[in-house]
Every structure is written in C-alpha cells, then in structure tokens.
Amino acid sequence: MNNAAILSTVDMTKRYGKLTALDHLNLSVGRGKIVGLLGPNGSGKTTLIKLAAGILTPSDGQILIDGQEPCAETKAKVSYLPERTYFDEHMKVSQLITKFEDFYEDFDREKAAAMISDLDIDLDAILKSLSKGTKEKVQLILVMSRKAKLYLLDEPIGGVDPAARDYILNTIIGNYQEDGTVLISTHLIADVEKILDEVIFIRDGQLMFQESVDDIREERNQSVDECFREVFKC
C-alpha cells in the first residue's frame, strides 16, 4: 500500500478579492481513513474541498492529490459531493445514473441501482419530485458508488432528518474503497464523530489541529463535539 498522503497542501492560500479564505494552509491526509473537516461557518471548509475537487485553484502555494496538482487525472480519482445540487433537476433518476456511468470509469452501476431499489426510489422519478432527504440520498449513493481514492463530501447530512442521517452514514461506512479516504465537512459533529478516524479543525482559513478521534477521547476525556465547543467557544 502507498503510504504517501492522498491529499496534501503546501503553504496554500486562497483569496477571493480582498478576503483570505485559506491562509498558508499546511496539511496532509493519509489513505484508508474517514476524516472530519470541522470548523465554524466561514472557516474555509467548502473552499478547501473545492480546491481538492479541482473546481478552484490556489492563489498561492500548492495542493496535491495523490502527489499531483489537480488535473483531469486527479479528477478521475476524486468523487465529490457538493454542498448544493449541481444536477439538472428535470432529469430522471435513471438518467442521472447513466450520466455517472458515462462520466466516470470507476462507477459501479449495479451497486448504485441496488442501493436505489433498496430505498424503493422509482428510477423513472424526476429529481425535482423527490424530497430533499431522498435527493441527498440519491446523490450520496451515486458518489459512493465510484471506486475513488478520495471522496469529498461537503455537508452530506445537512438538512436531512435523523433517520436519513443514519442511512447516509451507514452508506459511507459500507461503501468507501478500503484504501480510499473520505473527507467529510460538517458542523453536525455529534452525528458523525462515531464514524471518523481523524478530525481536522480549521478556523479563519488556518489549521488548528489534526488528531485521531480516539486520542481526543482518551487524552482529553471528552467527545469530539465537546472538544469542538471548547476550542471554538465564542
């Protein structure tokens, strides 16, 4: 197994005009892990994920995916779930599946179709007609049905009910590639912390710390949620 980081940044800065979203960020994420990207609103979580997905480019410094700067080759290794839907809402579920199949060589159509039929979702349903929770589930199923090296999930459980959250978390645990890494950004820490290996805390575009979740529990005698509340106390 390759021990080099799947995702790393070197003194990476991202500015939007005068605003600095990420400020000389240095971090490294290993393989085969589920990592939580945690921070208050506006700390730069979504920006970091978009940079890793190759949608944005750094203003300064470097970001490397599997040792390479983002390009067509790295995009093929990255499965990205954006915070907001980018699909055409008039498409049918079945058309969306076909689109993924056309687009991504590592997409497992059978796996996706099986999960969607487990949920009793009609393949002929138009995306627009689905509830918010169902739409989120469908998107997650598609993203997790790829055999990617890096899964980037931006707020995958925001805005869905607790039962749908459990379904989404179990789908993540049950489907990511064994040597793949899952990076999940969220502010719903209590809900996701059980499935994490590590957390990355960022604030104002800077890395605060990166630690194993069981180390936090063991050394600080607190949950990751409590630790977050303490570190980011207003």
């Binding site: 085969g32 892990k33 589920i34 459990d166 978390l169 179990n170 645990i173 049950g174 064994e178 209590a190 912390e193 059980k194 499935i195 994490l196 290996d197 979740v213 069981d214 529990r217 063991e218 005698n221 607190q222 949950s223 990751v224 949620d225 409590e226």
Partner: protein, 122 residues
C-alpha cells in the same frame, strides 16, 4: 443485542467490551466465525478501522484468533471465556459496592439487602 456506543470514551474500547459481552453471553459462540470487519462496523455504525483496531486488540488478548484466509474466530478456550466472564462480574460488583457505599450502606447492610431481594424474587 444492540450496539451502544457513546462519544465520550474511545470507541475502540467500547467495541472491545461489547464484543467480549457478546462472547461471554454466548451470542458469539466459542469456535464460531465472526462476521467480517466491514459487516461488524456497519452493524455497529462505526468506522471499519476502529472495528479493526478493537479486533486486533481482542486477538492480542487471545479471545479471538484469525486464520490466514478464512477470517476471525472466537477462541475455543472455554477457561479463558469463563475467566473474562468472572472478571466482568467482579468489576460490576465493585462498581455496585462503590455506589452502595456512597448511599450509606456498609458491607453487611448490602449483603442483607441482597439476601432479602433474592428471597422476594423467588
């Protein structure tokens, strides 16, 4: 048996305790094959790496052993299982006595209460 994991204590430790609990209560029988890491992780809604860590720990203590290609099995050593059962019971009793002491019961009062409770239960 439901997996109950809280977030205050290291998850791998809670998994070890709960797997031990399943072994001593016979849910996982001596000599039987354990489900795969991923299946166990999904069942408990935890990270597969954390489940892996718990199983590696149980392997070290000998309660679980692995066969190269066919997976993990529960020990056939009944004495070992009995030993852990006793250990768990003792630790429960210790906790219980501590609580009772805090409530103001001394050793004799505790024993008297247990005997009375035993009689009414029969």
């Amino acid at each position: 048996m439901k997996w109950t994991i809280n977030s205050e204590r290291p998850v791998y430790r809670q998994l070890i305790e709960q797997i031990e609990g399943r072994i001593i209560s016979g849910i996982y029988k001596s000599g039987e094959k354990l489900p795969s890491v991923r299946d166990l992780a999904t069942e408990a809604s935890v990270n597969p790496n954390t489940m892996q860590r718990a199983l590696a720990n149980l392997e070290q203590s000998g309660l679980v052993y692995s066969k190269r290609t066919s997976g993990r099995f529960i020990t056939e050593d009944q004495k070992m299982i009995e030993g852990i059962k006793k250990e768990m019971a003792l630790s429960e009793i210790k906790n219980f006595i501590e609580k009772m002491n805090k409530m103001g019961f001394d050793r004799q009062a505790i024993i008297a209460l247990i005997q009375k409770e035993g009689v009414t239960n029969e």
